[in-house]
Each structure stands twice: as C-alpha cells, then as structure tokens.
Amino acid sequence: MRETVISTNQLTKQFGDFIATNKITFEVYKGEIFGFLGANGAGKTTAMRMLCGLSKPSSGHATVAGFDVNTQPEEIKKNIGYMSQKFSLYEDLTITENIEFFGGIYGLTNKQIAEKSKDLIERLGLVKAKDQLVGSLPLGWKQKLSFSIAILHQPKVVFLDEPTGGVDPVTRRQFWDMLYQATENGITVFVTTHYMDEAEYCNRVSIMVDGKIEALDSPDGLKKQFNANSMDEVFYQLARSAKRSDN
C-alpha cells in the first residue's frame, strides 16, 4: 500500500453561481510526479490554491502532507513547496539572499540555511554567480534555482504551476531531470503544464474539464483508454468537449 500525500474527497469551490472546482476526488502517492492538466479556465488554479491552503473549499475535504485544508491551512503551507512561472524569486535580491530569505520563511536555522545554500549553489554550478541579482539570470536558470529553493526545506510535496513555460528545450529537460531527482529523494511533485510532451513524463496525469476531473491514469493508460497515439490527442479529445472555457 503506497503512502498517500494528497487526498481529496468531493473538493469543491464555488464563486457565486460559478462552480470553479466541482467535487474532485483523487489521491497522489508519495514520490510520484502527478500531472494536473486541463484547459485554461477548467479550474486547475482554484484547485491548486485550495490544496496549498490559500483558499478555503466551499465543500468537500482534502488532506495535504497529512493536514486538513479546511482546518490546518497554516500547517500545510509549512509542509509544501510552491513555485510558478509568474512568481518565483525576488529579482532584486542576489541568489544567496533569495536562498537566505526563503530558508528563513520556511523556518530553517541559520546553520541549516548556510549548509543548504552552499550545497545548492555548488550543485547548480552557480558559485561564481552567487552574489549576482536574480534578475540578471536567464529564465531557465531562474526556474532551476526557484525549484531548488522551493524544496530547500525538504517538503513532502511541491506544487509547480507551469514551471517551464517559455523555457528553452534543453533547460526544460534539465528541469525535468531535477524533478526526477527530487522524487528519488521522496518528494512528491504536483505539476501543471501546457506542454503535452511533459505530460508523458508524469507517472500519472489527471485532466480537468469544466471543473471536474474527467480522466486520471498513467499516460499509457490514458492513451489506451482514449485510443490515442499521444497525450496531445487525449487532451484534445477531452478538452474540446468543454462547454465552459476561457475562450
């Protein structure tokens, strides 16, 4: 029996008449890369905000890293990592300063921060750049650094919201290597992406349509189920039937 890191039951968020996330039920297991896909406006961001303890569900339940999203959102925030394409690091702080800042936020001691900072900077090959402002780094480097910082405190699960949007194809692959390494260290990865080749890299994938999870399986399983050659086709079959969309 695999350890469950995220578990939701009929999780729902309603804004007025609009049901952004509609009774979603699923589980994510320890050490897996879980792809959370859906068209723009399908309700992914709303669901992710609830799972990160940032938004209170209208109804339903969920636990993340062993804590209840309804009653223990602050505990959740301490036990997860988060990065997005839009906000990752402070551009006007140096690499070292960003590590210190986020290490502090995550409650690490100064000694832990110093050790982890040195290790991280060496591992990413940023020794020479460590006192440079983050704003001067190429996007790909920022995203790699941002991910490393998001898992600085060894969270049980890390949430990634379109982490590779606009990143060049070589760096995008290096980024995914980092995700695999993180899972080997027992960290669970919950990721959204619009790159369908990246959906193939996930252990399991869910696809949201109009607020509901319409499919959930391994990429191979989904391709068999939908009689499709690629995840792109699977996505297309499901998402084109969407009534509500961002279009």
């Binding site: 406006g41 619009h194 996505f235 297309y236 961002d246 279009n247």
Partner: protein, 305 residues
C-alpha cells in the same frame, strides 16, 4: 522589392545595474509579402525586442529595417498606420468595454468595425456576446481575441503577434493557429513569435532564435531535413533509469527525453544491437528502439549544442 519586412544587422543592447544584455546581435532576415513567418525561441531570445523595433516603439542601436517598404526610423508614421501589433502583454484599455476598445482603435486609424468586417468577422462573432463587458473582466482567451480584433481593425498589411499562444492550452492554441491560417488567406503578412516548437511547422518559414542570434532560418521542412544525424526513439517501462543508462553507454552522442520516448543519437551508426544488448545486461525489458524523423525541437536542441 517585395519584402514585407527586411531586417539588416539589427542590434540592441540593454544596460542596467544588473549588467549588459545583448538582446539582438546583428541579425538579418527578410519576410516575403503574404508569408506566415515564425520566430521560434525561448524567453529572452530577443523576440520581443525585435517586434518592438519593427513596430517603431523601440529604437535599435544599429542596423536597418523596413516594414512594408518604410524605414523603421524615418518613416515610423507610415509604418504605424499599416501594421497591426499584438504585444505579448495584454495592452488594451481594461476599463473600456469590448465595443469601446474596438471603436477606439477604429477611430484612431480612421476606420470603423464595419469597414473591414469581413477580415475580423470570424473572431469578432466569438466576442460579440460580451461586447458590453469591460476588457479587464474578460477571460484570457477572450482578451486574446479582442486584442487580435483591435490589431486587425484597420486591415494592416503586416501583422505582428508576440507570443499570442504563451500559457494557452493546446486546444485553444490549435484554434488560434486556424485563425492565423484564415488571415493569411486574406493576404496579410504575419510575423508571429512562439516558444512552442510544435507550432513551427504551421509557419511558411521560421527563424530559430536564441540569445539574440538567428540559429537557422528556412522552411520547417528544410530545417528538419538538414538535421545532421540519424535519430532514434527508444523507450522502456523504466524510462528515467533508461535515460541514465543510455548516458553511460559509450557510443551515445546524446540522449534526451522527448514525450513518451527518449531521443537518441549514436556516435557511430550500426550499434543498435550492441546498445540493446547493453540494456538487457542492465535488466531493461520491453525496450523499443526505432529510427524516426527529427522535429523542429530536435533541430533546436542540436543547434543549441
């Protein structure tokens, strides 16, 4: 001279307290009239700087460029009235309604929505139900369609679209490219930038761009045909371990993840059986190895080496 856009040794450098960025390093190319031309490259490649120079909102540090035959410096007024520009960042008036935005841009260009209605009809009918809604309250996809309508309202000769599909889901991206095809059929020259390599094949010609330089420029078919190595796809149930083991194999030139498969280039040909044997010794089962044609993304990766 039939070029819709001609760029000659354009250079742009930004200097700030953070350092110096060479956004565009002496790049040159030309876009034919009526062409759907793609600038393909990641964030920071220089695509936006180039678009801003061509639409006369930014001055280059060196080089020359013309749009529709007009010089981007001396004839900027002429250019502004004959191009449409949809920046990457939503730039319409958020507190005006859909209808008000359209009327505003139509008035600026001395025209009306009705005058070129045929051109925008397909797109406009999708946003028409929301015409009384403020632009700021529209969803992302609707904003994009409104921005495209506004950029087309004066029937421009050349249309510049800066990353119109970034962050857009695959279904909406397909629909957007369908719209572009229809616009092309109406004779509009289109320059479009995208970080999505799979969209490259939808263009007549593309320039692969990175760090302010053009890596390659041609039709997608010719760029693919010029891929310098035989390319293989390989997979097994344990794909990440497979990747690591193939990297350890002595005759691997390069191997990287590519969707369901890994893509593999050998240092020398005719080592397929040897590799399969090597992998069997590493306890890989159900290994599938097959030759494949390169994609634009493979070409881009090769050019970045």
């Amino acid at each position: 001279m039939n070029y819709a856009v001609e760029v000659e040794n354009i250079r742009k450098t930004y200097t700030s307290e953070i350092g110096t960025t060479h956004a565009l390093q002496d790049i040159s190319f030309a876009v034919n009239s009526g062409e759907l031309f793609g600038l393909i490259g990641p964030d920071g490649a220089g695509k936006t700087s180039l678009f801003r120079i061509l639409t006369t909102v930014l001055l280059a540090d060196g080089g020359k460029a013309t749009v529709n035959g007009f010089d981007v410096v001396n004839k900027y007024r002429e250019i502004r009235s004959c191009v449409g520009y949809m920046p990457g960042k939503f730039s319409l008036y958020q507190d005006l309604t859909v209808e008000e935005n359209l009327n505003f841009f139509a008035t600026l260009f001395g025209t009306t929505l009705e005058a070129n209605y045929e051109l925008v009809k397909d797109i406009y009918i999708q946003i028409e139900p929301f015409k009384k809604r403020r632009a700021g309250k529209l969803s992302g996809g609707m904003k994009q369609k409104l921005a495209l309508c506004c950029a087309l309202i004066h029937k421009p000769a050349v249309l510049f679209l800066d990353e119109p599909t970034t962050g857009v889901d695959p279904v909406s991206r397909k629909e957007f490219w369908e719209m572009l095809k229809r616009l092309k059929q109406q004779g509009i020259t289109i320059l479009v930038s995208t970080p999505y390599m799979d969209e490259a094949t939808l263009c007549d010609r593309i320039a692969l761009i990175q760090h302010g330089t053009i890596l390659s420029i041609d039709t997608p078919q010719k760029i693919i045909a010029s891929f310098p190595h035989p390319l293989y796809a390989i997979k097994s149930p344990e794909i990440y371990r497979l990747l690591k083991d193939i990297h350890a194999y002595e005759n691997t030139l390069s191997c990287y993840a590519f969707g369901e498969y890994l893509h593999l280039i050998f240092k020398e040909e005719n080592h397929n059986d040897e590799l399969l044997h090597f992998l069997t010794n590493k306890n890989h089962e159900q290994v599938v190895l097959k030759p494949i044609e390169a994609s634009i993304e493979d070409c881009f990766i090769e050019l970045l080496k």
